[in-house]
């Protein structure tokens, strides 16, 4: 979500509508090109829930995943990234 916050701040720097269009398109095309169907995303999401739940108590309903872009260290070009926001209910190890 780093990218998203950065975009949010940019809006206050008087972004032109063509900049907005460009940014929206760049994000949109990443997920379009990845060709992830909603069913596939749902399967990934369920698998993530299963794996993480082995180690901690998470809020399965609050979990979101999306394909987005991120800056990669030592690389100026943005690369596709799978972003997952997993709210933890209880950090203690489950027995």
């Amino acid at each position: 979500m780093k990218e998203g916050y950065k975009n949010l701040f940019d809006i206050f720097k008087k972004k032109t509508s063509s900049d907005v269009a460009k940014d929206r398109l760049k994000l949109l095309l990443v997920s379009d090109r990845a060709n992830c169907t909603p069913e596939l995303m749902e399967m990934i999401k369920n698998d993530i829930i299963n794996v993480i739940s082995k180690y901690m108590d998470i809020d399965a309903d609050g979990l979101e995943i999306q394909i987005t872009q991120t800056e990669f260290e030592g690389n100026d070009e943005a690369v596709p990234a799978l972003y997952a926001n997993i709210p933890i209910k209880d950090i203690k190890h489950k027995e």
Binding site: T16, S17, S18, A21, K22, L25, K26, L29, D32, R33
Partner: protein
């Protein structure tokens, strides 16, 4: 050597038919033997844009189904000795033709024509598959809008997946005044997003509406769009022509008026 070129876009209404008419007419003006094929079965339009709607007897489906010979269906454009149109059928649908039949048709036309231009319907279904089947290269038309660019990206992906040898981008309806204000994506922005070779940019020119009203493509005339389309024709032929300055100060009329202004 002849070349089969499909003009496609994904999204409707971005200027595929206008581009097909103008690039085809331009190539004919440059002494190439050209045939235009309207592959939009059920929604034929290339005939009206070309001003040849009153001369249709047979159509694409008639040829494919063997109701007539190919030569009988081709309409010769009397204004240009080298230009022909194969109109689409209005009362049938996209399933009336298969990709194999299209490939056979374009191969037959290769023997006689230098350039075979296919006006592709909007969408990515059967009509699109038919249109791209026999093509050697594609001209992907888009406008500087998010919806058109998104669809163009999808089309470029599908063309790659179908092993299209060459895909070039045409950005249509650019308004330099809006680009300067920051309210329209620039040519560079669109090229950056789509990461594909650009073969031409057409300004939003009201002369296009006038030329469509009259049924006479404006390629090669002293209008911004007319010049931009002629430049695309030269690039299709492999010539290296720099992108037109779309600021509106290189058309005949603006040069003329600027001289008048100077002398005042």
């Amino acid at each position: 050597m002849s070349e089969v070129i499909v003009i496609t876009s994904g999204k409707g209404g971005v200027g595929k038919t206008t581009t097909t008419a103008n690039v085809g007419t331009g190539l004919a003006k440059l002494d190439k033997k050209v045939v235009l094929i309207d592959t939009d079965i059920g929604l034929r339009n290339l005939d009206v844009v070309m001003g040849l709607e009153n001369r249709i007897v047979y159509n694409l489906v008639d040829v494919v189904e063997g109701n007539c010979r190919l030569k009988q269906a081709l309409i010769k454009d009397k204004r240009y000795p080298n230009l022909y149109l194969l109109p689409s059928a209005q009362t049938r649908d996209k399933t009336a033709v298969t990709p194999e039949q299209m490939r056979k048709l374009t191969d037959e036309l290769r023997e006689e024509y230098d350039y075979i231009l296919l006006d592709c319907p909007a969408g990515i279904e059967q009509g699109f598959k038919n249109a791209i089947a026999g093509a050697d290269r594609a001209l992907v038309v888009t406008t500087p809008e998010v919806s058109a660019i998104r669809d163009a990206d999808r089309i470029i992906g599908l063309l790659e997946a179908n092993e299209m040898k060459k895909s070039d981008l045409i950005i249509n309806r650019i308004r330099m005044d809006m680009v300067k204000r920051g309210d329209m994506m620039s040519i560079a922005d669109v090229v950056d997003i789509l990461a594909v070779n650009i073969i031409g940019a057409i300004p939003d020119d009201e002369n296009i509406v006038i030329s469509t009203n009259q049924g006479e493509p404006l390629v090669g005339t002293n209008t911004m769009a007319g010049q931009a389309y002629m430049n695309i024709c030269h690039r299709v032929l492999g010539e290296n022509v720099p992108l037109l300055n779309l600021d509106g100060n290189n058309s005949f009329w603006s040069k003329f008026t600027s001289i008048l202004k100077r002398t005042k």
